[in-house]
Symmetry: C2
Subunit: 296 residues, 2 copies
């Protein structure tokens, strides 16, 4: 796709601007301004913005206006950021760096990092409920699928499985696939689903978006695991080898890099097949192919 990089840049620019609007603070002298600072510190630390890009890309591919997907796009990035802040805490993964910068608790202290994460877990639902370009029916459906993908059977459930696995000697492929589905797949899938809902897609199309997202999420997590072994700290912006150091069972540690690459290829092919149900899928096809080849 000729204009892929341009389109990607325009999405990311739009997302950065909207994120600022949604967590702006008109009363800089309020006592809780440090909370906003901590939230913005982590929100503005960059990253690929993959999830909000997927929200917008699905909305536009299915004929929706980008304004309609603005709140859900920012919401999913807030959820993702909340999970990173809490993941990095000393009681969790105890990571001092995130995206090349001190992690939130290193910059603002542990208590403020807990609260900044909490606030970024709740604000997404407020901005969706208050969104301008969505009907009440769309908002309710989006909030339901978003909360579900974050909760017990989604991202948070996945983190618990991850923790339990560290104590376990016989983690098998089924367990790992379920873990990746919860921990990474659900948030990526719900990004696609929310975009489709914003475009008023029918149920069949929404299902295709979900199936695509789950496979993309699986491939994405596999590549994350591979890069944790093969990349450098500079390329990755976070310490490499952290999975091994923390005794994490990953697809790579259990089955080796080659098997992991094969599984990522297969999941990507399946993802591309599901994309055929999406009308103007050119940008999404290129994005999917590029994600398989990413180096960071």
């Amino acid at each position: 796709m000729k204009n892929f990089e341009e389109k990607m840049k325009s999405y990311v620019d739009y997302i950065e601007k909207e994120l600022k609007n949604f967590n702006n603070y008109s009363h800089e002298n309020r006592p809780q301004v440090k909370l906003i600072d901590a939230m913005n510190y982590s929100l503005r630390a960059g990253g690929k913005r993959l999830r909000p890009v997927l929200v917008h890309a699905f909305c536009e591919a299915l004929g929706g206006m980008i304004e309609a997907s603005s709140a859900p796009a920012c919401a999913i990035e807030m959820v993702h950021t909340f999970s990173l802040i809490h993941d990095d805490l000393p009681a969790m993964d105890n990571d001092d760096f995130r995206r090349g910068k001190p992690s939130c608790h290193k910059a603002f202290g542990e208590a403020m990092a807990i609260l900044a994460g909490d606030a970024l877990a709740v604000l997404p639902f407020e901005i969706i409920a208050d969104a301008q370009h969505l009907t009440p029916e769309q908002k309710v459906l989006i909030i339901s699928v978003l909360a579900n993908s974050v909760g017990r059977d989604g991202m948070i459930g996945g983190q618990v499985i991850d923790m339990e696995n560290e104590k376990c000697d016989n983690v098998d492929e089924d367990n790992l696939r379920n873990l990746y589905r919860c921990k990474t797949g659900q948030l990526i899938a719900v990004s696609c689903v929310m975009g489709a809902i914003c475009a008023d897609a029918d149920n069949e199309t929404i299902r295709a978006a979900a199936e695509y997202g789950l496979r993309l999420g699986f491939a994405f997590q596999l590549i994350d695991d591979i890069l944790d072994v093969t990349s450098t700290t500079e390329e990755l912006g976070k310490p490499v080898g952290s999975d091994e150091a923390s005794n994490k069972n990953t697809y790579v540690s259990l089955f080796g890099i080659e098997k992991a690459k094969e599984a990522a290829d297969k999941a990507t092919s399946e993802a591309l097949e599901w994309l055929s149900a999406i009308r103007d899928n050119e940008f999404l096809v290129t994005l999917t192919e590029k994600l398989l080849k990413r180096k960071y």
Copy 2:
């Protein structure tokens, strides 16, 4: 009111049953079952259930059916429980006990307590979005006011002000009133507001519910402060004198017990005045009066 205790018991029984339903888990052998256990451990630790009782009482006082307020009532108790779990963490208030039992991180470890709190911060929005007896318009409004009362200008913002105040020598009454409004008042006010929305109340009535709740919340927090000084650990179910030990500025520490009692009386009187806008307010009037005289 003759049947006050009976009515209160029926509300609390209903809430306990509904809380179980909303965080029940059909697949007990799933790997994330420990997360559900941790969530339920704190959810079922008891407490007064004041906030969900207010949701139901406002809904019924304004002619709504109790089923309509079921999801918002459980949602507010989940939010309250999430805040207690995170508040008790070592990086926050570092409390080993809550309601006479080991706090969540003492029973399940710090990482699981963080995740259980996170899950209880998100589940409320899912159960409201999926509620059976509310219209999409009611759900969107409830989610908007609930998220707002939890976030930057609500409960979480209040906790940040509380932390900042500990480093501060010149906390004045305005600061403290703002703190109490954020930290305690907003969640109590939104309980009343959600109940009114469930009953399809008009805007004027919703406003009366909010004004009542803010004043009740202020009185409630003042009495909490007073009991922290005058009660015993057995009566309170948590260590007394914890405010002084942690160097917290409270209305009591700044202005003395007598001034605090006067302020609680005044706030309660104002709360009762706002209740005159609520149709069948008998239960709520008795509840308000009893809360002023509580010993735990």
